[in-house]
Subunit: 435 residues, 2 copies
């Protein structure tokens, strides 16, 4: 384990040779357009941005049966954005989804974002890429899109874009859970884009350029930066620790789980609207942790709350992290070794008809809260086939009984339906939904 | 250049073998203390945290004539924290500085933070480390301390801890600059700690554990997470790009600058209070960028504003990034090629009697602003021998004339005096100031 920490493992996958691929060929034009520039100092030399066709060795394939960024080995950094659609014009929205798809294909390959026109416009036009990732490799960037229920019907129940009939029943709003302190400005959204990469600048650049391309059609509703993935999505990754210091997500669905992924992760053809077959649902929850309070709790109590040891992550009834918890075991005092309200028991698939999720969350630290405390916690992301049978019952059990609730606050929440993957160059993120 | 992007260069320096050093030896105690635990489920196995003595190959030396984290090759991630001292007792404050120094020495070596007592307390006690960095290497963590003017005198001018006579004149409050929109809750502070590392989890863990150790003596005033260093502090690092997409800090002071560092960076024995000789001053400014507005500005105008090309970073009068700008050159139209108000001209050392700084800032993205825009920008950090002769005149020129001001807002500000380095195991951060 010493040779593969969760973070180090990700970083070592970025080969230096890939760094060339985002870089544009400099082609000085000698005299640039000067139309609007006299006041700013006259003629300037400039770079013409031309694409370099070199393949990018640390790029994740953008196209496929499923969207990338779900079973993809979890990258180390996140920029997640929820957007509101501000146009009423269905054609504008579909055109944007086409433009976004093209930009996502380019950026995940380490190329410039582009925009509504060709890459490398005239000097008087805004650049077709914001430029801050010019010298950076793809860094395993993935961009994953999702559609919120509010895209289908507005608050008054009106069909916004002629797709209300395609609203999946499983995209229903989450119920109120005990203890929820949700803030509207951190919740919901018509569209979401999850940008994951091993370099935060690459993830931020991607969201920023999608927002730039979407100007006038969508507006950023909320966004979240995350670091230090809090889950492993392949067997090659070790289980990381949450900000409470515990290994978290030991029972996570992983890329190698084969038939179980069809059962638990991917929407099947018979599940509901056809447009979502091969897709999945994403639940996001912004969970603040009262870390200062937690840090003054005894180690033994922390371990009793989780039902696992802090060092190895083993259940209190076992020796190794992946040992199966023995919920029936009792101690010398006759009490269960793993308490009835221990987190590992409440969240265990055995308690929920085998319900599993593919968690893909990140830590967040948003500075401090003005009261001398860190504004920090877990930005929880979980993909699943049907939130009504997976996230909702698990969270209901946790919200009711989990002793962890003394140390956490759910402040943001959203659910999105993530369409299947983009198949070929003519395909786009909105095809299966909008036709 | 292709083989060494700023980010990749940093990442490749973390050898996998170092990952062992923060990891504790698991020593199951069989039966743990159960005093307060009956209600939580009875006896639990637990790890005893013992220190592993293996050397950490990616650790930065904590002790030396100067503090680490200044000329140290700029790491890729930042967690910066400003604290208010909440005790009135000088002895408590000095004791905390001793504890912090010991914890900083441990954490920068990849070990557990410790606390007021020995590492590995009884099960009923809070853990002596919060644990979320248990499996992570040192990641070149540096911890750099600074003292604000408010530590010396309170707002009423009273000597708080018997050190008012040692207040350096150069630690004077910054003047108000045109356009400043400073928020008190993002400004000032009695103490600061700059945590830099190549893994954000390591930097966050360090600040969190210092805050934990300081509970009751200090209170977190504000903090800032940063990513993607915006400066190069050694010749081995290439100049990174700011969030406007331009290479920034081409003229930065660097570790190799020898005598120039004595002239421009380190406080000299004759400069003022003796306790600060070998130290330096740190100016922090939180600078929001109106990135959406910038992104709709033409490439030619962006380049005219900076006075540099966006692609290579060359001055508009040159071909390569490090070409000396020719401020006298005029174009065919008789106007200066580099405009009178171009950023590169206003900030150039030639305009300020050769004044240079060691910049060490980071990007920030704090989500969005509720108006559909990213809450993003530059967390500017600059070390210097005397802000009155370096930061202040440069910023005055920029605040007065820089066309960039249309695209940025200064919202946070602070100045700290950073003492010299900790020399040996008996030394501590407060020794030269408090004796």
């Amino acid at each position: 384990m010493a040779a593969q920490t969760p973070h180090q493992g990700d970083r070592s996958t970025v080969p230096a040779a890939a760094a060339v691929s985002r870089r544009r060929v400099l082609a000085a034009t000698g005299i640039a357009g000067v139309a609007g520039l006299a006041a700013a100092g006259g003629a300037v030399a400039r770079d013409a941005f031309a694409q370099d066709a070199a393949p990018a060795a640390d790029a994740v394939a953008f196209r496929g049966a499923h969207q990338a960024g779900i079973v993809t080995a979890a990258q180390d950094r996140l920029h997640f954005a929820a957007f509101d659609v501000v146009t009423r014009d269905r054609d504008h929205l579909v055109a944007l989804l086409r433009q976004w798809t093209a930009a996502a294909a380019r950026m995940t390959a380490g190329q410039a974002a582009g925009g509504s026109g060709a890459v490398g416009g005239p000097a008087q036009a805004p650049p077709e890429d914001t430029g801050e990732a010019l010298d950076l490799p793809p860094a395993q960037l993935t961009l994953t899109v999702g559609f919120g229920a509010s895209l289908f019907r507005d608050a008054a129940g009106r069909d916004r874009f002629g797709i209300a009939a395609h609203l999946p029943p499983a995209l229903a709003p989450l119920p109120h859970f005990p203890g929820d302190q949700l803030r509207p400005e951190l919740s919901g959204g018509d569209l979401c884009v999850q940008a994951c990469a091993n370099d935060p600048q690459v993830a931020v650049h991607a969201i920023r350029n999608l927002a730039r391309i979407g100007f006038g059609t969508v507006s950023l509703r909320w966004s979240q930066l995350g670091f230090g993935r809090t889950s492993a999505t392949t067997r090659a990754q070790s289980t990381p620790r949450n900000l409470m210091g515990f290994k978290d997500g030991t029972a996570n669905l992983r890329a190698e789980d084969g038939a179980l992924l069809e059962e638990q992760l991917w929407v099947q053809p018979g599940d509901g609207p056809q447009w979502l077959a091969g897709g999945t649902y994403l639940v996001s929850r912004k969970i603040k942790m009262l870390v200062e309070t937690w840090d003054r709790t005894s180690l033994a109590e922390q371990e009793a709350i989780f039902g696992r040891t802090k060092g190895s992550g083993a259940p209190l009834t076992g020796r190794d992290e992946f040992d199966r918890p023995d919920f029936a075991a009792t101690g010398a005092d006759g009490r269960p070794v793993i308490a009835p309200e221990a987190h590992v028991r409440l969240a265990h698939p055995d308690q929920h008809g085998g319900a599993r999720m593919l968690r893909r969350g990140y830590h967040f630290v948003d500075g401090s809260d003005g009261l001398g405390r860190m504004d920090a916690g877990l930005f929880f992301l979980a993909f699943q086939r049907d939130p009504r049978r997976q996230f909702v019952p698990v969270q209901r059990a946790l919200a009711r009984s989990d002793v962890l609730n003394e140390y956490i606050r759910h402040v943001g929440s959203a659910v999105f339906a993530c369409p299947p993957g983009v198949r070929d160059a003519g395909d786009h993120w909105g095809r299966t939904l909008f036709g």
